[in-house]
């Protein structure tokens, strides 16, 4: 690996205009500020969690322009001009998303630490593939780790939500 310089960098700020759960924000961020810290500490949206901090577990998952990212390892400036959805923005007018409802009904969580990431990733899965096989589901969700449930109930919850959504409940938003 390349040799590294130890000189400290000078401060620099970058204008970050973006939308989080439909609300527009204009912030100044430094290049090294991570998206997860901006969302949790500056916007006080604490649904996304820091757990592994190395892009393995998915507890920090956010949808950036509809695509899943590990906010623990993504600099906040990467969100310039983009739309973010966090778990806090998923329910509409107080009505839970079918996935949220299914996780409650089917015991899809215990401690809940992995749940925001699980649900956002599952939302994307079902938006792309409304009728996934269990194999497709497991491949898609491979990067979301749960230390409590043993996954069985999570799979059941997602498949139950898929069924409900196919029968026309609500398609969910981006």
């Amino acid at each position: 690996m390349a040799t590294a310089s130890s000189k400290a960098a000078e401060r620099q700020t970058i204008a970050l205009s973006f939308t989080v759960n439909g609300r527009a924000y204009d912030l100044d961020v430094e290049p090294h500020e991570l998206l997860l810290d901006v969302i949790r500490d500056r916007l006080a949206l604490t649904g996304a969690k820091r757990s592994c901090d190395v892009q393995v577990c998915g507890a920090c998952t956010l949808l950036l322009d509809g695509r899943p990212v590990s906010a623990c390892t993504l600099p906040a400036f990467e969100a310039r001009g983009k739309k973010i959805l966090t778990i806090e923005g998923l329910a509409e007018n107080g009505t839970l998303h079918p996935l949220q409802q299914a996780f409650i009904e089917h015991g899809g969580f215990q401690c809940g630490f992995c749940t925001p990431g699980m649900i956002l990733t599952a939302k994307l899965l079902l938006d792309e593939n409304p009728d996934p096989t269990e194999k497709e589901l497991k491949h898609f969700m491979h990067g979301n780790i749960c230390r409590c449930t043993g996954y069985k109930k999570i799979v059941e919850s997602i498949l139950a939500a898929a069924k409900k959504m196919r029968s026309g409940a609500r398609s969910g938003k981006n």
Binding site: M1, A2, A4, V56, G58, G143, N144
Partner: protein
Amino acid sequence: MLRRFRLEEPDTIQAASDLLVRFGDAARLYAGGTELLLVMKEGLVRYERLINIKQIPNLNQVKLDNGAISIGALATHRELTVSPVLRESLPALVQMENNVANIRVREVGTIGGNLCFAEPHADPGTLLLVLGAKLIAAKKTGQREIAVENFFRDAYETSLESDELLTEIRIPRPSAAGGLAYLKFGYLERPSVGVAVRVEFNGGEKKWIAEARIAVGCAGPAPRRVEEAEAPLKGKSIQEATHLIDEAGGIAGRASQAISDLHGSQEYKEHIVQVLVKRAFQQAVQKS
């Protein structure tokens, strides 16, 4: 925690190369950041400046160009899995890409970053070795072509010069009279062993193997093509080659420069290479 750094955002290859010359070791190119930010967060490396190359236009395109497949270095793993060009002409690469890391890393990580970081436990380099890919390196004063065999030097070491960017991966379109497979094995986050096999048949009759290519990755410090293992298969019928494939796999295992580490012992990895060579050969023949 990530230490403070400054961000540069050049919009041409020349400007990015200029910045590399100007800031030397204090700066580093930044694409998806999925590798770089991890080692920076760990404090293993420090850079005063990151040069974000994602503002350079058109570096993520996948297209057919003069009969070759051209992949821009900034194409993300996900972009490769959904590319119509690749789905049509190189489904084995699509399949390999679809099994890289997890959905979030595939979304952000680029193929260029994967190759340039040269982390040993990676997939694309191994497959590119049997495809005869050429890597295009560019700097301020021009560009050059590096055969993929000459790209990987060692773990985390490539033949790119300090002011060069990887801009493109060029892959000759595989002929219809052949088959290709990439298989990997591992139970940790990253693959422990990866094997690519490609067979070409002569005369379109699918009877004789005109050419066989075998490459092994992850087991040792860098992916490598194993010509010693290819030789016994050349000129053989499928049946003959099927009898010889264990031997070829054994040669590939011993040539893989497998090291004992967290992923397993040297002996274990050599064995897995042998098994994967056999399975990949069978798949490649089936797909032809």
